[in-house]
Symmetry: C2
C-alpha cells in the first residue's frame, strides 16, 4: 500500500507538501496540488477513514440523540450540541445528530445499522424507552440527564439539589423567607428536571423551616400574566422562562417594582435574561460543560470498555442581574 513518502517521491515534492495537500493546512499552488493528486491517483493512495474503520471495527462516529427541536428556545440546546461536537472532534471522533422520537423504535433501527461506536442521549425521561432500546442493543451509550434509577448507566446531569440549594441561599442571604417556586407544566408526565427540582424545593423548605409555595403553570407568556402570588411572597424562583415574561409584564402593569418589592431568580438562559426588564438574575444551566462531559464519558468508556466513568453532576451557576435585591 502506497505511503505518503511514496506520493512525495513520485510527485517530486516534500512530505510536508503532501501533508498540506491532504490536510489543507497551508495553501499550495494549483500546479503542485495537481502533481500530488496525480501521484496519489497513480499509486492508488487513499487516506480513507472508512477503510480504517472497517479494519478496526470502529467508526469513530458517535451519535447525539435528541428529540425534535422546533419551537424551543435554542440557546442551551445549541450549547449542548456545540460542546458535544467540539469534545468529539478534540478526541478524533465525529458527532452525528439523530433527531428521533422518544419511543425508541427509530433509535433501535439506527443503532442496528452499525454506523456509530456509541450514543449520547439528551433530554432523558425518568422512564425512557430509548434507554431500554440502547441497553438492549449492546451499543455503548451515555446520558446527558438521568432516568429515575440511573445506577450503572454512564451519565452526566445538572445537580438539581445543589442548584436549588444555591438558589435558596442567594435569596435567603438577601433576607427573603417567603419564596415561591414557579415551574412549567409538561406534556410529558415524568420530566426529570421538573420532578427533581420540585422535590429538592420541598425538601429544602422543610429543612430550613420555609413555607413552600409551588405554582405550576403552562410555559406561555399569557399563563405567566395570570399567576397569582400569595401576598406574603417576596421572592420567586422561576423555572418557566416564558411564563416569567408574562409575570414581569403583569407586575409592571400593576406597578409592582422588581426587585424592590419582589425578587425574581430565574433558571434560564443569559440571552433571555438580558432582554428582560430588569435584566434577570439567573441560575444558568451548565449546557456547554455537560455536552462535553457526556461525550468525554462515552469516549472514555469506548476506549476502555472495563471503565464505567462515575456520574458527574454539575449545578447551575448564579449569574447576577437586576431582578434580585435585599428584602
Amino acid at each position: 500500500m502506497a505511503t505518503v513518502r511514496d506520493v512525495a517521491e513520485r510527485a517530486g515534492v516534500s512530505i510536508a507538501t503532501v501533508s498540506f495537500v491532504l490536510n489543507g493546512t497551508k495553501p499550495v499552488t494549483p500546479a503542485t496540488r495537481e502533481r500530488v493528486e496525480t501521484a496519489m491517483t497513480e499509486l492508488g493512495y487513499h487516506r480513507n477513514v472508512l477503510a480504517r474503520a472497517l479494519a478496526s471495527r470502529r467508526t469513530r462516529i458517535i451519535a447525539l440523540v435528541h428529540p425534535r427541536l422546533d419551537h424551543r428556545f435554542g440557546s442551551v440546546t445549541s450549547e449542548f450540541i456545540t460542546s458535544a461536537s467540539r469534545a468529539a472532534r478534540a478526541r478524533g471522533y465525529h458527532l452525528v445528530l439523530w433527531p428521533v422520537d422518544t419511543d425508541g423504535d427509530e433509535l433501535g433501527e439506527l443503532v442496528s445499522q452499525g454506523l456509530v461506536d456509541g450514543v449520547v442521549l439528551m433530554e432523558v425521561l425518568l422512564d425512557d424507552a430509548r434507554v431500554e432500546t440502547l441497553a438492549g442493543s449492546g451499543t455503548p451509550f451515555a446520558l446527558i440527564g438521568r432516568t429515575a434509577d440511573p445506577a450503572g448507566l454512564i451519565h452526566v446531569d445538572i445537580d438539581f439539589d445543589q442548584s436549588m440549594a444555591d438558589a435558596l441561599d442567594h435569596l435567603q442571604e438577601l433576607g427573603h423567607r417567603e419564596i415561591a417556586l414557579i415551574t412549567a407544566r409538561q406534556p410529558l408526565p415524568e420530566y426529570g428536571p421538573k420532578v427533581r427540582s420540585e422535590a429538592a424545593y420541598h425538601r429544602l423548605c422543610s429543612e430550613r423551616g420555609l413555607r413552600p409555595v409551588l405554582i405550576d403553570c403552562e410555559p406561555t407568556v399569557p399563563a405567566g400574566r395570570s399567576i397569582q402570588l400569595p401576598d406574603a411572597t417576596t421572592a420567586v424562583i422561576l423555572m418557566n422562562e416564558l411564563a416569567g415574561f408574562g409575570l414581569l409584564s403583569e407586575l409592571a402593569r400593576a406597578g409592582v417594582d422588581v426587585p424592590a418589592e419582589l425578587s425574581i431568580l430565574s433558571f434560564g438562559s443569559p440571552e433571555l435574561a438580558q432582554i428582560a426588564s430588569p435584566p434577570l438574575t439567573i441560575m444558568r444551566a451548565p449546557g456547554a460543560t455537560l455536552g462535553g462531559l457526556g461525550v468525554d464519558a462515552l469516549i472514555d468508556h469506548l476506549e476502555n470498555p472495563e471503565l464505567t466513568p462515575p456520574p458527574r453532576l454539575h449545578p447551575c451557576v448564579l449569574e447576577p442581574g437586576g431582578s434580585t435585591a435585599r428584602r
Copy 2:
C-alpha cells in the same frame, strides 16, 4: 454471505422477528433476542453500513458545516440543523455536524478524510475561504447562503430583496412613509444578509420615493437604548433583535406608545417576538425550509452528478403581532 432468511431459519423464528431484533421496531423477549443474536454470530451475519459504504465508495454521510454556535440565539439555528438532519434521514443519509473555523483549514482537513459524500455549508460569507477549500477538494457541496458571486454553486438562501419589499409593503399599506432600517454591526466585514438587506432597502426606497434612514448599531440591548430616531420616523424595520429590546424598553420609559406612535417590524424569531411587549410583528426567516432544501439540493446532485439544482431563494414570512399599526 449469510442472509436474514438464514438467520431466521437457524434461530427458528420468522424473518419478521429477525427484523424486529435488527431494527428494534417491536419488542421481542430476551430469550428470542438471544436466539437470534446467537444465530447471527454463528453465521457471521453483519448488517453494517460501513461495509456497504466501502463497497460503493459512498458513505451516505453528509456534513453540516457551521461556525461555533455559542452565545447566539439558537432558535433559527436549531431549525436549520433539525430540518437539515430530518431531510437527510428522509433520504437515507446521516448528517454529521462540523463546527469549524471560517478560515477553511480545519474544513480542508476534515473533507480529506473521505468520511462524507458531501457538505452543506451554513453562514456563508460573501468572500468565504471555506467555499474555496470545498471547491478545491472535489467534495460536492451546497450552500445555505451565498457568496458574492454564487453562479455555478449549488445554493439556497433567504430572498432578501423580496423580504425587504414585503416588509416595506406591509408598512406602506398601513400608511407609513418614513421608515427607518436598523441593522446590526458585524464583526465580520462582509456578511451577506446585512449587505443584501441594506442594498435592497436603499434600492426600494429610491424606487418608491421614500427617504432612507439607515441606523447600524451593535447587537446589544444597551446599544438599542441609545438609538436616536429622526422625529419624522413613524415606522422601523428592525434587523437587530437585541438592540430592538433596548429600543422597546427606552420607548416605554419615554412614554412612546408602540404601535400607536411608532410601528416596529422585526426580522426575528417567533420566540423572542412573543416575549416582547407588545408582541412583535415579525418577518420570520424560513430556517426550517432552507435547511431541508439545502440538504435536498446536495443529495439531488450526489445522486445525479450531472445535475446542478437551480438556486432556491425563499423570502421571510410576515407573522402579524402587536407592534405594527395604521399610521
